[in-house]
Amino acid sequence: MSENEMIIEGLDDIEVANTSIDDIESENVNLIFVGIDQSGSMHPYVTDMGSALSRFKQALEESKESDDILVARANFAADIDIGGYKKISEFDCNYTAWGATPMYDVIVDGSLKLDGYRTFLKDQGVRVKAVFAIFSDGDDTCSVRTFGDAKAAIERLNREEITTAFISFGGAATKTAKELGFRNILDVASSASELRKAFDCLSKSVIESSKSVVADEDDFFQI
């Protein structure tokens, strides 16, 4: 075992990577996956993104539903880095931009991790709703997975009544998002103010979605 591996007695691996069941104070949990494009083309907006993510975090923290929300942030640039589902207070608002756009990889791997933790929670008697959201300013450029793999992943999420949402920054990824099968697509122009509005919309949509008993289908961004 390497020194980086951590064992905590009494916790499954999935709990170590995400939030342990004993730390969840509610019967109902809303899992929010946010895949964030950190490719080089986003470089002009590094500061604005950091600010937008901070506002996103603050909005969720201040909501009454904050205790029921767990967020996993996934970054995709030269490679992908998918974090665990953690309380919103632990959400990382830092942002850098470099590298390419392995969007299909983050969709496939992100959906598998969401499935795994969701199944774990449901087996423990937790009622789970989930939102799978991607923010990107362009199409995939370097994934190992294919378009077909990503499309199949989105189809599976849709079938399982997980809300799928895509924020297309600048419009270049909108067509791909539709073809992948995302049920909710927010198309915004590429500017600092539109970026801010997009994440404000995302935070409000997450909060509204968390209040309802059933998952949103295609009205996630209609708040």
Binding site: E25, S26, E27, D123, Q124, G125, V126, R127
Partner: protein, 216 residues
Amino acid sequence: MLINKIGALHLEYGANCQDAGRDLPGLKIVCDGCSEGLHSEVGAKLFALKFPYYLKYWISTNAVDHTFMELISFFHNDPDDKKHYLSFTTLIANEFPTGFLVSYCGDGYVIAQRVDGEIEFIRLDCGEYPKYYIYNFIPKNRLSKYREGVEVDTRWFYKSEYQRVGVASDGLRYALEDDEIRPLLTQYLKEDKPVKIKRLINKYQHIFKDDITIAF
């Protein structure tokens, strides 16, 4: 704590959860609607809402009567409506300085925690046929049982023996009959962990065939 969960059979049949409950300081209420009553959850919920008001002015047994009289006023004396909306058990635990008074009409359970911390489950059994207070307001010729009327029964639990008393609907029986679930339920009641109890019921939904409500 208040736990109110739909039973697996109700889910299967597309029926509502017909239990209602209320957890107030010093007052626990559970009402279990008759499964043959088309809308018994309506009456059960209204009773749980309204009863505390009448308890301010009447002792428990009289407060039950006054609450029913108000609920009946919705139904213009239609005996079928009364049966369909107001057939539910009433289980009430009221705290006093020296003890707890449980008033009940119909089946269910008392959950009593002794001063040493141990939990007792005491079955309240009103006999072969379900007993509903609404029978007092239905013409005798429309009843096959309880034509002579029904009364609210009472039991007293001294604080010298019990530190906490609550009530539960008889859906609790499925938990008590299961060797795996019963000890977990008992532990979570002792630890005062309603979220763990809810998750336990969610996890073993298939075992909890009937609605279950616990006010403790």
